[in-house]
Symmetry: C2
Subunit: 444 residues, 2 copies
């Protein structure tokens, strides 16, 4: 854990350098990912089966998990866990339901009807990583907003294992209302969702976290389908005044640090005492963690304690870094909400740890990382809808704007645009004159 | 103009092939674009000035257009054009204002406050192409939604010309409320907006159309800043029954075709007579267009007339292709709104030509192309805001979900997450027992 001193601007620059060094790390053979995608696009299931055998050492006649297996998963997990996941679903549902939007129509002008239709995406694919851990919470967070949006068909893909899909993941899928689960993973799963194969349906959008192969494949198929934002390493900034409890802060920084050796955990405090106690707390608390080595590496590389003169100065540092998670351990924290300009999710007060938001409280845990909270947002119902505008003009209403449109079209040198308006009125005049429909001099 | 016969599926496949052949065309030296971006990032204004001299043959001491020049532009254009642009602004503003969203708060459970903040982006850059034509309508369409969102600083960049910026573009910028205009173009302008230089401010998002250099540069800086969607060649599908007026349809197809030799213009009709008359109309109307050669090439390559048995079958073809613009020249068109699943903008009836929407009616003309209307939306106020979630739990409220969170955290193997909750209660128990704060056994 670094103790950063000096002025806030220098410190912010220093931390931004860590980030960009992370962004420049490249470990994945792009060529291999391209080859995988091309093969699946061309050969469908045959390629999918071959890559699954090669990368996952699994050779199964079918990718699909049966509906029976999905239902049975509910009985295969601890009943208390089942209730916990159901409670989480309820909270996530209730929070996201307020994001649902209505189509609108504006019929205020005579002869003019215009509006915006809100429609759910038709088919969505959710990627759930396999590997050592299983993430039922990720299933809930990615699937529930899509359900609320009204997506009719939600496909979950996850890498196969010889022992079958993790029952907690399957149970979460069933609870969230996933329609179909397929055991395919990696770049080949992304390619299958983007182009469709005989057994995997083509989707409109792919969401969910994954390793670098998955991330690269998603970027490659973007445009063919939509994708969610790229998730960088997870981040937290804790802002603390002298009333904060350093033991709580240490626990929260560690919950961030245990994710990944690249996780960023920073505390900005107005109190030297808090800074000192926090360091002690980190040292004592980290010892008992099963993922101690990961957390240690993360804190050594991307952990920092910064002392600044005021809470506002601390929030200025946070705004500059625009973190994924921001905790405010200060007196009357809601009074500072206006001052927070850029953060994915804001946690107010000593009893609102990030872990509460990760699992249970309701707001989404898929958040903008690496400073992108300046312009990106948490995953929401908006990510699973699309909009279409519609327009209807009467003849009279069109005639009223005829000249104005032609003037702009002429300015832009697009005469056929002007003609598309004038022809609708010239035709009649010419007919009345008994002339044939022959030429349509455009607007001069 | 091709006459496509046969079953709808084969026809749709055929048209999709045209599209993907377009998507695979690559003409831009990616390496050069990367070099330009790196140089501007490193050397700022010095590089910017050098590239402007090299690519635009302009060597100016300052990039900035003075505020005086911006105001004067209003007097330099025809008064009728000024009124037309102001009328367009009014309509665009009125249509988009309904897209504005409110932050929400949910304080329904004791001890729990949660919600979502809606905030405007702080700084937005709008690219306006130079070249032979000027596009004041594009300025209005890109800037007004940002203004409504509440963006405080809107920067417009456009390639320099020896004669200065086109007065219609400058007037539109002033009318729309652009804050600053800079004469820089190409990949170097995008790099300047993404990284900032001494004279050009760094922005949070870049929108607006551009040539292939601009498109490639935007994609390269995505992540550093946000960008709008990539606009492919423009497209229209007209669905027509036997009541349609072929002269109107021909004019609308031509207004699409004159944009670009790669524009797609397709009519799907239930009437062989309409198909025949449409062909005649196209032949006669095209003759009088200044951009005849462009329109001819577009129609020859990417134009088609398709005859199908029913209006529903025609709409099915449109849905499969998910066009940017869809016109319904059928009886009682609003009855078919439910059947249209994927289209950027829908134009209903004979007096609602696409050109009306391009300039005047209010809905945005920045629309999803190349079939991306399946998952993308017209440019809107949503594109200039970001969301943050916030959360506050009381101690009691947290204690109630303590066990549930720990169960999920343990399932996911993230014990520091569980500890972040339990420490908030164990501490007290231990204090009460008179024990020192030493170890925090995580949830078992």
């Amino acid at each position: 854990m670094k103790r950063l001193n000096g002025d806030a601007i220098t410190i912010v620059q220093e931390i931004k350098k860590w980030r960009s060094s992370l962004a420049n790390e490249k470990g994945v053979p792009e060529k291999l990912v391209t080859e995988i995608i091309q093969a699946v696009k061309r050969d469908g299931d045959v390629a999918l089966r071959a890559f699954t055998k090669r990368f996952d050492q699994v050779d199964s006649p079918s990718f699909r998990v049966s509906e029976k297996e999905m239902e049975q998963a509910l009985n295969r997990i601890d009943e208390k866990l089942l209730i916990a996941l159901q409670k989480a679903k309820e909270n996530i549902w209730c929070y996201h339901e307020r994001q649902k939007r209505q189509s609108y129509i504006d019929a205020e002008q005579p002869g003019v009807i215009r509006g915006q239709l809100i429609r759910p995406l038709e088919v969505v694919g959710v990627y759930v990583p396999g590997g050592t851990a299983s993430y039922p919470s990720s299933v809930l967070m990615n699937v529930i907003p899509a359900k609320i949006a009204g997506v009719k068909r939600i496909i979950l893909v996850t890498p196969p294992h010889k022992e079958g899909v993790n029952p907690a993941v399957l149970a979460a899928a069933t609870i969230a209302g996933v329609d179909e689960v397929y055991c395919v993973g990696g770049a080949q799963a992304i390619a299958a969702l983007a182009y469709g194969t005989a057994s995997i349906p083509k989707v409109d959008k792919i969401v969910g976290p994954g390793n670098e192969y998955v991330a690269l494949a998603k970027r490659a198929v973007y445009g063919i389908v939509d994708i969610d934002m790229h998730a960088g390493p997870s981040e937290i900034i804790v802002v603390a005044d002298e009333t904060a409890n350093p033991a709580f802060i240490a626990a929260d920084l560690l919950s961030q640090a245990e994710h990944d050796t690249k996780s960023m955990a920073v505390c900005v405090t107005t109190s030297r005492d808090i800074a000192n106690e926090l360091e002690e707390q980190l040292i004592s608390q980290i010892e008992h963690l099963p993922r101690k080595e990961i957390a240690k590496q993360a804190l050594e590389q991307y952990g920092a304690i910064i002392v600044v003169p005021t809470v506002q100065a601390a929030i200025d540092v946070a705004n500059e870094l625009s973190p994924e998670h921001l905790e405010l351990h200060v007196q009357d924290p809601i009074q500072y909400l206006h001052a927070v300009k850029h953060a994915g999710s804001i946690f107010l007060g000593p009893y609102t740890p990030e872990a509460l938001g990760d699992y249970m409280a309701g707001p989404n845990h898929v958040l903008p990382t690496s400073g992108t909270a300046r312009f990106s947002s948490p995953l929401s119902v908006d990510d699973f809808i699309k909009k279409s505008s519609f327009l209807s003009y009467s003849k009279d209403a069109l005639q009223e704007v005829n000249e104005a449109i032609c003037l702009i079209a002429e300015t832009e040198g697009l005469h056929a645009h002007a003609q598309a308006i004038t022809i609708r009125f010239q035709e009649e005049e010419e007919k009345e004159d008994g002339k044939a429909l022959q030429t349509y001099p455009y607007y001069k």
